[in-house]
């Protein structure tokens, strides 16, 4: 069993992360992975030129580790892999990779879903969308908090 959580300061390569998970999961029956991308538009349809993910020098990685650990202990998965970008991202760049391996698919689907719901609302990042004219800090929506609440 492995639980990996990493803060990525440079480009996140989802294919390489999946390859690592595939290598670890040779005795398993299922892998589910999620890749989040920097969107080119705000929820209001305005152009986003870049996304800035500010992080905390100690608590951001700890939050990723805590979420990965709790996901690993909850669904009977064999391997968990969470990699999250910080810094400046251009639209289309991967922000997050969340992957789970298990003997059977249901546990892997549930773990990946759980990881993302918690990352959206509890990973210690502050997210800013920079447009051509102004910038806006993005906070979780009520739907995000409701999604997180499904697991309580």
């Amino acid at each position: 069993m492995s639980v990996i959580a990493r803060l990525e300061f440079e480009t996140l390569n989802p294919a390489a992360e999946l390859e690592q998970l595939l290598g670890a999961a040779q005795s398993d029956g299922a892998i589910v992975s999620f890749v989040g991308l920097a969107r080119p538009h705000t929820s209001a349809g305005e152009i986003v030129k870049r996304i800035v993910l500010e992080h905390h020098p100690r608590l951001t990685l700890k939050s990723l580790q805590d979420i990965a650990d709790e996901g690993a202990g909850r669904f009977g998965t064999t391997h968990i892999r969470v990699v999250h970008r910080c810094g400046e991202l251009a639209p289309g760049e991967p922000i997050v990779f969340a992957g789970a391996a298990a003997v059977h698919r249901r546990a892997a689907f549930q773990a990946a879903d759980y990881l993302m719901d918690r990352l959206k609302t509890e990973a210690v990042f502050w997210k800013r969308e920079d447009g051509p004219a102004d910038s806006k800090w993005i906070e979780p929506t009520e739907d995000d908090y409701a999604d997180r609440g499904r697991w309580e």
């Binding site: 993910l53 500010e54 905390h56 939050s63 959206k120 990973a123 990042f125 502050w126 800090w137 979780p140």
Partner: protein
């Protein structure tokens, strides 16, 4: 006392301010002092969703902070 900010709070107040305190002070009192000094950020500083953190631990509003400690204020976090 050093007070550090992140996210939208850092956007309007800067990453750090120094507050002169003669004695220990609660988080609630520090929020009020800061809100008075920086009215543009008063609403955010008073929000229950903006959490205070001392020694890498989130603390409640009645937590007493010593003058030599550092407080961090966290607006709502969001990954993914």
């Amino acid at each position: 006392m050093r007070v550090q900010f992140y996210g939208k709070l850092a956007g309007c107040l800067g990453k750090e301010v120094v507050v002169e305190l003669p004695a220990a002070c609660s988080i609630a009192e520090i929020r009020e002092r800061l809100a008075t000094a920086y009215p543009d950020a008063a609403q955010a500083l008073g929000s229950r969703r903006v959490r205070a953190c001392v020694g890498d631990t989130v603390v409640p509003d009645n937590h007493l902070v010593q003058p030599n400690e550092t407080i961090e204020f966290f607006p709502p976090v969001s990954g993914g």
